[in-house]
């Protein structure tokens, strides 16, 4: 069985400061991990994914995430927040066959001017 924990339901940062959204996972086999972003009244957009290649994954809009097997973590970071980053972020785990996608509860990111 797989599960995802997103440790913060809401994160608030000032524009231009770093962003850290935390994600821990549980999986009985080598997982694939994803971060999706959902802007208000918009669909889900893939930010980045890890599928057993490089542990540091770079995504769109300056986001990146590092897979740490020893910590079962896949935290999402960005050096400098922009107002347009305000959205809901979901950490997702799936098996290596691209099935059984399990969503975390989501973290709402607010960016203050």
């Amino acid at each position: 069985a797989q599960s995802v924990t997103q440790l913060d339901s809401h994160v608030s940062v000032s524009e231009g400061t770093p962003v850290l959204l935390r994600c821990n996972y549980s999986s009985s086999y080598s997982p694939s991990l994803f971060w999706y972003v959902q802007h208000p009244n918009k669909g889900l957009q893939l930010l980045l994914k890890y599928t057993s290649a490089a542990t540091l994954v770079k995504g769109i809009n300056g986001f990146e995430a590092e897979f740490k097997k020893s910590e079962t973590s896949f935290h999402l970071t960005k050096p400098s927040a922009h107002m347009s980053d305000a959205a809901e972020y979901f950490c997702v785990v799936s098996d290596v066959y691209g099935q059984n996608f399990v969503f975390g509860p989501g973290t709402r990111l607010s960016v203050l001017p």
Partner: protein, 112 residues
């Protein structure tokens, strides 16, 4: 990745009626899924839509309430039957190919 067109984008329906949501993918995909996202919540998987066979439902979801069709590898529908206000949610379809999932824009359903 593939693109999914989902419609309607939103609807307001009377209780007791049914609504069918359609998803069209611009390429063939093996796996399609239907999710529900209740207000302020994460996504919950309703069922996996299998081409040529019955959908596989998750615990708490049944075929009589959420019948699904998957006539080919590019199309699927979800019907929300005999609706009640508790069915007010966003419903999303998803396709998966080679470990990546992509999503429709969602259908925002309000039942009054």
């Amino acid at each position: 990745s593939a693109v999914i067109s989902q419609k309607p984008s939103r609807d307001i329906c009377q209780r007791g009626t049914s609504l069918t949501i359609q998803c069209q993918v611009d390429s063939q995909v093996t796996m399609m899924f239907w999710y529900r996202q209740q207000p302020g919540q994460s996504l919950t998987l309703i069922a996996t839509a299998n081409q040529g066979s019955e959908a596989t439902y998750e615990s708490g979801f049944v075929i009589d309430k959420f019948p699904i069709s998957r006539p080919n590898l590019t199309f699927s529908t979800l019907t929300v039957s005999n609706m009640s206000p508790e069915d007010s949610s966003i419903y999303l379809c998803s396709g998966a190919e080679r470990t990546e999932a992509f999503f429709g824009q969602g259908t925002r359903l309000t039942v009054v």
